[in-house]
Amino acid sequence: MTPTERRQARNARLVTIGTAVVLIALWQTAAGLHLVSGLILPPPMDVVRAFRDGVIGGMWFEDILVTLEETVIGFAVGLVTALVLGALFAYAETVRRGLYPYLLALQTFPKIAIAPLLVAWLGYGMAPKVVISALLAFFPVYANTLAGFLEIDPAMVDLLHSMRATRWQELCKLRLPNAVAFIVPSLDVALVLALLGAIAGELTGATAGLGNVITQRTFLGDTAAVYAVLILLAGTGLVCRAAINATISAIRRFRPGLAASVR
């Protein structure tokens, strides 16, 4: 790092920390002077207390697990469905084109809107949350899988043809590794969407989960707890990203070239 770059990095860090300090100070002032009702903006210390009781004290332990489980299952289901359909449709051109209008309609459709219907069908348990979560996680992975299988340098296809590669060899040696580079960057978007789907499902109707905590506490007027859950969710999103980044680094260590075109 040159001195200029180092100075820039330090200043950026100052801006980050400064923003937090200013926001918390404003928050404390506004809440402390009762400029805003405590129902809308509880004092920071109340939120810290709620966070401590809920997260560290273990009051929300069950809920955290439920939301995580829904997210992970939804992500996994969406991911596997997207990979399989993406790979199949890459080869079945007629089917892909025929179904394209429906997939496009489903992709652009605000999927959260069907949450109440799913809860009515599937009950208050995990099932409807997993479905929405999977539906949301599906599309970014599906689009990138399709692109990964189809957007291949034609010269590379020629190269494999010139060696008389079988379709199976072409899949294993060219299309799959090519697709990995496309798919991996879509994973963190998909994971964050899976979390969004789980929460949206819980907000609609649930007996457990962080979304349910939000609904309950809002109803009770315990705004501090709601803020604490929101902070927890922000942290969860960051953890999801970190998990995907760790996966990418693992691929990079295992097969440097495979991750070469990733980011």
Binding site: M156, M163, R164, G257
Partner: protein
Amino acid sequence: MVRPITITAVERSFAVEGEAPVRALAPVHLTVAGGEFLSLVGPSGCGKTTLLRIIAGLLPATAGEVRIGDDVVRAPDPRVGIVFQKPTLLPWRSVMENCLLPVEIMRPFSPAEGRERAEALLHLTGLWDFRDRLPRELSGGMQQRAAIARALVPDPEILLMDEPFSALDEFTRERLNEELLRLCAERPKTVIFVTHNIGEAVFLSDRIGVMAPRPGRLGAVIDLATLPRQRDAGLRKHPAYFDKMAETRAAFDELLA
């Protein structure tokens, strides 16, 4: 025994929507003797790549046929190696792994033997120290050398090269030209070499086929048998070299007039 390549009345047109089809190749007749090094020279769009792809069995001809020895080409022949205009290395494989790709796919010999050949060729092309690097970590010239090494690993009887050095500077190109002749001398093989560069064609070849566009066709074929057999840097200063360059250029002027 290295088989000759016989090209008989090969034509190719491409359908263009809403227009008359493009005639990429008017009937081409050409015989390349077994073990011969033949260059195809011509301006952009004269059908050089099209002809090479037809010979490789990657593109069907609209009419006519290509034979390798007695066999009509209908699909790629495993004894034919190709070097494309771009290096076309798989970006997720190291240089060594790229060179092993033809061994994995065609299994011309045992994996151990294939690895031995790849190692030898990486030494010959000066890429040994880079064998574990990824293609993007190599310069353009090194990538093209890796592509040539890869094509040579299965010990092809016929080598088709489509402007392999066109993206390189003059110095690198000249060095790789000399290297290529050394590599080809390893075992007799028939080479068809496409280029834009007349000097390169004269330096490398036994004969040069001069091509012209609209429609793509083969004009004169220039014989370089009178050039000194010794093809090294000295040849580029030899008067006969300049004579042959002038002769090739004259053939172009006549063809394009």
